[in-house]
Amino acid sequence: MTSQTPFLVLDHVSKVYRRNQSLIERIRKMEEGGTKAVSDVSLVISEGETVGLVGESGCGKSTLARLVSGLMAPTQGDIVFRKDPAGKTPRLQMIFQDPYSSLNGRWTIEDIIAEPIKVHRLRRGRAAIRARVDELLVQVGLSPTDAEKYPQEFSGGQRQRISIARALAGEPQFLILDEPTSALDVSVQAQILNLLRDLQKNLGLTSLFITHNLSVVRIMADRIGVMYLGELVEEASAEQLFRKPKHPYTRLLIDAAPNMDTSDRSLHPIAGELPNPAFPPAGCRFHTRCPFAQDVCRTAAPPRKATPEGGMFRCHFDLDLSKEVKTPPLAKVKTA
């Protein structure tokens, strides 16, 4: 597996959102500040693999999705796809979070699903295209009679199925999923996740799955990257990440989401609040909230360390975090 040429390589990718400068700043030619939404992220995705990215709002995971999809260019670093023998880059498709804004409300379902087929010339002739659309509709659990309808005649879950059908219509070699189920209800989310997993298995898709929900990413991904304030702080196989996380943030994030165990009702908040991504803390970005933080964390950015299992993490220490972190009961939670 590892001997293969990687499918996608992110090499020290950064993205800075420039802020609007005031007139005085522009006249004085002051250095442009800006929010580093994605900071020095390196990641390798192999063929047939699903890599998950998790993190809270402002961690840069959606920006990274847009960089990979080519909707935005990185400020620094390279995003390189493996080229096929003919020298062409693989076809991409993306599934978006909001099932309402991701479908053109003036197009019929047939036109929406047929668009990638027509653009990439995957089928020729009206009859062949229509047959393919019908086939895709059945594949995502809808009916061919739906092809005549408009998106607004469908519920959120059905719209997400249409989005999936459109993505599959482009016969993508690489699929980007940006929070595909977070706008959906639990029972519908389960349907969509199951559908996506079946498709993964049957089509052998390589994909990047972005979500804020650790449980969802655990079900969907082979490997998982955890992002915090624009940085990739840990990356490991799904199993490894949940069993033996190496970065304190990963551990605390796993504990913070309430599970359905009613015998242990303790809550595990992460101390402090998410800092403003425009002004990340110096040193290790997580030091303001980390229970293990020491002086070195406040001054020096932690190096990127590789694990024997093939993962990586950014922490000064090599902590054993396989158990829940026992933080003292927070009688009065102090915010930063």
Partner: protein, 326 residues
């Protein structure tokens, strides 16, 4: 047998669409005991938020309460005049909204908003009111209350705003707090803070709470008893441990099994309930869940199952799931 603090019987809410009334809440009954946290779960459109709004008479037209009784401490809330209702709202019943940005007035400082709420319901007089407001800012965990007092909502982070909303809900010493998706708009790490805060304040003040959410994880950690709503009807009400261990209604079990959870083994296929919840006005005859239910029989398709009480729990199902004896 304790007398319940809040008792809702056969609460019915209809929505008027093109002159045709459509039932949004169909004879919903439940109660909240003193000092208890009642969790209300359901998917979007199940009627959770409408239930909360109906209790404090904040239904937005064309929604309208058309039947049922609501009593708080024996007083009938459904018979109060709008003026009397205003005193209950924010006074005897506090309310925590989902979106902290829209539930705070953006052009008034948070200190002023707290003082207004305290003054309206407790009438303490200037200095005492301000002292209370500062006290509340500290109690909900914001540093430097004197500084925060003069700040505007947009100067606070989402988590801090939600803390202020909680302070506003609790500052008039209500006997019941209705929290409608209080942590849905927040990140995981902030959510745990807010839940912890709500738990601490609940223990200190022994206020009763109605916690409306779609998140079963939040329910498992916070609620004492749980009411499960489906398509505007109560599917099941059970103590929390029993609900997760031995659900009676097939929908409850389906919901639990459809929820991906961190403790679940990564390789397991998620159980899914086929289909989707019927929309307003499209509820099938009989049990609303029957088209999606694997246990449905002919009676489920014709008769609406009544809410049957059995020991500590109640459910509306003709063919409930068997209890595990072990």
């Amino acid at each position: 047998m304790t007398t319940p603090l809040l008792d809702v019987r056969d609460l019915t809410v209809t929505i008027n669409r093109d002159g045709r009334p459509i039932t949004a809440l169909d004879k919903v009954s439940f109660s909240v005991n003193p000092g208890e946290v009642l969790g209300v779960v359901g998917e979007s459109g199940a009627g959770k938020s409408i239930t909360g709004a109906a209790i404090i008479d904040l239904l937005v037209p064309p929604l309208k309460r058309t039947g049922g009784t609501i009593s708080l401490n024996g007083d009938r809330l459904d018979q109060l005049s709008p003026k009397e209702m205003r005193r209950v709202r924010g006074g005897k019943i506090g309310f925590i909204f989902q979106d902290p940005m829209t539930s705070l007035n953006p052009v008034i400082t948070i200190g002023r908003q707290l003082c207004d709420a305290i003054e309206t319901h407790l009438r303490l007089g200037g200095n005492e009111t301000k002292r209370r407001a500062l006290d509340w800012i500290a109690r909900v965990g914001l540093p430097n209350p004197d500084v925060q007092f003069k700040r505007y909502p947009h100067q606070l982070s989402g988590g801090m705003r939600q803390r202020i909303v909680i302070a506003l809900a609790l500052c008039a010493n209500p006997s019941l707090v209705i929290a409608d998706e209080p942590t849905t708009a927040l990140d995981v790490s902030v959510q745990a803070h807010i839940l912890q805060l709500m738990r601490d304040l609940h223990r200190e003040s022994e206020v009763s709470m109605m916690l409306i959410t779609h998140d079963l994880g939040v329910i498992a950690k916070m609620a004492d008893r749980v009411a499960v709503l489906y398509a505007g009807r109560v599917a099941e009400i059970s103590p929390v441990a029993e609900l997760f261990a031995n659900p009676s209604h097939p929908y409850t079990r389906g919901l639990i099994r459809a929820t991906p959870m961190p403790t679940a083994d990564g390789g397991v296929q998620l159980d899914q309930i086929p289909g989707a919840m019927p929309g307003l006005g499209a509820v099938p005859p009989g049990c609303a869940f029957n088209p999606r239910c694997s246990r449905a029989q002919s009676d489920c398709r014709s008769v609406v199952p009544p809410l049957v009480t059995q020991e500590s729990s109640a459910f509306s199902c003709f063919h409930p799931l068997e209890r595990d004896v072990a």
